[in-house]
């Protein structure tokens, strides 16, 4: 009966997928959703490739999945992926059903699947990964994700015992997951910009996970990412099997060494997140049996599509678009740190409000006080406009961060915000925006560009 039900679900979902494609609609979620509705055990029955690599974590899972996919397909593998679709159970089901025959047999020899951390319980019991990459675990939305230990609990207990874990040695939250599973670690050697004392408000690993003693950081990159040891019991961060050294963001190179030797790799971006992403991909590809030379050749043909940062000239002004996921203090902190560190004078507009939340309730703003607005108290930042429904909260938070009152402007109307900036030749204007209400974001961007052009013509 189970098999019959599965086939009905498969055919129904395949028809739905075909119909959506004919209608030129996105067919990356609904077919899998339908399949799971018709047959809750769909993931158990659907054919899976012989080798499955799952990629999960708070940051970098899409980029790492894309890098793996690019290198592996470049080497001639038929790789099933959910690159264009959803990373929850329905999205995984859609990918698997689209990659199988009418009788449910897979047409692929390998899968690289990006998996939402919270969906682990619905996926791993059926889609058993040979390798599970956990990029890192950080705080996300306080409403959905609470805290990283909560997210870790979704992964703990669902990963099959034989799954080999590829973990971040520099992240003491994810590196301790599923201690009985076979594992390798990747990490980055001390960098020039590392510190020992935490400069961030979010600092989620301050005590030893073994004895609760005080952790001392040998070096710290940001938040809890770094290398630490316990002064009481001797616990320490794991040693890296894939270790990046000599990270050079000017020459855009780093060396990755493992038990078989090392190789100099090109950095695909100078952001620390993307340096980790390349290292993670190299570690996974080495585990899959590729040589350093093969990986390097593959990575040299790829690039990271930067979706969160974009800079364009409008007249004599550079207009920077910086996405910062809404209600995510960590994303905000990283974005503020990055932008404030860019050379040159700049003016900012903050509109990371959840516009959709505002339509039916009111945004949970507790994250504002976990986010490092203090990075914006910087002499190169000459003006900040707080805008949107939560503009007054941003204004108060900026004062709290020590930003001088005379630098801050405040308006509830996003479309009025661009007029509150000056547009000085050779300087930048940066718009921080959230992931919802992109239409409004583009309208504000258009107005910024128009005003910048106008100022340049004067």
């Amino acid at each position: 009966m189970g098999r019959v039900r599965f086939l009905i679900a498969l055919w129904g979902a395949k028809c739905a997928r075909l119909a959506l494609k004919l209608l030129r609609r996105n067919a990356t979620y609904f077919p899998g959703f339908l399949a799971l509705k018709l047959c809750p055990n769909f993931l158990r029955y659907v054919g899976k490739p012989k080798k499955i690599v799952a990629v999960t974590g708070s940051n970098g899972k899409t980029t790492v999945s894309n890098l793996l996919n690019d290198v592996l397909t470049g080497r001639g593998h038929r790789v099933l992926n959910n690159q264009l679709g959803s990373n929850v159970a329905a999205g995984i089901a859609t990918s698997l059903l689209s990659g199988c025959t009418l009788f449910g047999k897979t047409k692929y020899d390998m899968a690289v699947l990006e998996v939402d951390e919270r969906s682990s319980k619905r996926i791993y019991p059926y889609v058993k990964p040979d390798y599970l990459i956990i990029t890192n675990l950080f705080r996300d939305s306080p409403m959905r994700n609470a805290h990283p230990q909560y997210i870790a609990s979704f992964i703990e207990g669902t990963v099959p015992a034989a799954t080999r874990l590829i973990l971040n040695a520099d992240d003491l939250i994810s590196s301790g997951i599923c201690p009985e599973n076979p594992r390798v670690y990747f990490g980055i050697d001390r960098m020039k910009t590392d510190v020992t004392k935490c400069v961030n408000l979010i600092n989620d690993v301050q005590i030893c996970p073994v004895c609760c003693g005080e952790l001392e950081y040998d070096y710290r990159r940001y938040h809890h990412i770094g290398k630490a040891h316990c002064t009481d019991c001797g616990f320490k961060s794991p040693e890296s099997d894939y270790f990046a050294t000599d990270v050079d963001t000017e020459a855009m190179t780093m060396t990755i060494t493992d038990k078989d030797g090392g190789m100099s790799y090109r950095l695909l971006s100078d952001s620390i997140f993307n340096i980790y992403n390349v290292l993670t991909a190299v570690a996974a590809l080495r585990e899959l049996g590729l040589t350093h030379e093969e990986i390097k050749a593959g990575l040299d043909k790829t690039k990271i599509v930067e979706t969160r940062f974009n800079a364009q000239k409008a007249g004599d002004v550079t207009v920077v678009m910086q996405m910062s996921k809404d209600k995510n203090a960590l994303a905000g902190s990283r974005a503020f740190d990055y932008i404030s560190g860019l050379p040159g004078k700049k003016e900012l507009i903050l509109m990371m409000n959840c516009i959709h939340d505002q339509q039916h309730w009111s945004e949970n703003v507790t994250w504002l006080y976990d986010c490092d607005f203090e990075f914006l108290n910087n002499e190169n930042i000459t003006r900040i406009v707080a805008t949107g429904p939560r503009a007054k909260d941003y204004y108060l938070r900026l004062l709290f961060a020590g930003v001088p009152e005379e630098k801050i402007r405040c308006t509830l109307s996003e479309m009025d915000a661009p007029a509150l900036l000056e547009y000085n030749a050779g300087e930048s204007v940066c718009l921080f925006y959230g992931t919802d209400a992109l239409d409004l974001v583009y309208r504000v961007q258009g107005k910024i560009k128009a005003l910048a052009q106008e100022a340049s013509g004067r």
Binding site: P142, M143, R144, A146, H147, Q149, Y150, S153, L201, N203, D204, Q206, I207, C212, G213, E214, D232, D357, H360, W361, S362, N364, V365, T366, W367, L368, Y369, D370, K392, D393, Y395, L396, L399, F400
Partner: protein
């Protein structure tokens, strides 16, 4: 004046630590004492004016209960003698009878108030909060896995909209003398300048201006207007 923050290395979620930072900016002369798990609390020496405990993970709740259990009698003595306490978010649960998991297992807490918190780890409660503290309007947010049930004695706030100690209860939080505990997040003191003024007077700081008072009041008044709008949805 001395303000003690208990275990900030594990009690730091949802911006709650900024309540204490805000108090300090309003009372720059106050001494902040940060007590870690490995050091004895400063309140044992008896010269602390206020004790703060912030939101934490579920594992941290276990550690905090374990750390404070030996000092239970001293805490009772301090509450009876009028020391100011402020526990926010799930720090409230440290002081009640117990915390019950979905599988029926229980974590015994300090047992100062006759309430049981029932955790629902797959059913996180996210909502807005509008309540009253005497004549003062209170606004805030809730984001929690547990609600408290039972007769815990006097409430800190009386709920106008949203959930009290649990979705069916109007009383919110706990109040005994100057002991105050609430599930309301915000951070509470930054989001509620009139309540912060009350707290400063309670601490003997007199009627003094708050840090960033005008900006805090502007934000508070806008939020109060929003939350008082009957058309505004309250539960996420």
């Amino acid at each position: 004046m001395k303000i003690e923050i208990l275990y900030p290395e594990i009690c730091y979620l949802y911006g709650d630590l900024m309540n204490v930072e805000y108090l300090h900016r309003c009372l720059p002369e106050a001494e902040l004492v940060r007590t870690s798990l490995k050091t004895p609390p400063a309140f044992l020496s008896g010269d602390v004016d206020m004790i703060c405990l912030c939101s934490m993970t579920e594992r941290a709740q276990e550690l905090v209960i374990e750390a404070l259990r030996p000092h239970r009698e001293k805490i009772i003595e301090l509450i009876d003698s009028g020391t100011v306490f402020l526990a926010t978010g799930n720090a409230l649960e440290i002081f009640i009878k117990d915390i019950e998991n979905e599988d029926g297992s229980k974590l015994e807490a300090l047992g100062l108030f006759d309430l049981t918190a029932k955790r629902r780890m797959l059913d996180r409660y996210n909502a807005l909060y509008l309540g009253k503290f005497g004549d003062i309007d209170i606004v805030g947010l809730k984001s929690q896995f547990a609600h408290a049930y039972g007769d815990g004695g006097d409430a800190l706030f009386e709920t106008v909209r949203g959930a009290g100690r649990n979705p069916e209860a109007k009383p919110e939080g706990l109040r005994k003398n100057n002991f105050m505990a609430t599930y309301v997040l915000g951070p509470l003191l930054i989001m509620n300048p009139p309540f912060t003024k009350y707290l400063l007077e309670l601490l003997g700081a007199g009627d003094r201006p708050l840090a960033y008072e005008q900006a805090a009041m502007d934000s508070y008044e806008l939020r109060l207007k929003e939350y008082s709008d009957p058309k505004r949805g309250f539960i996420y």
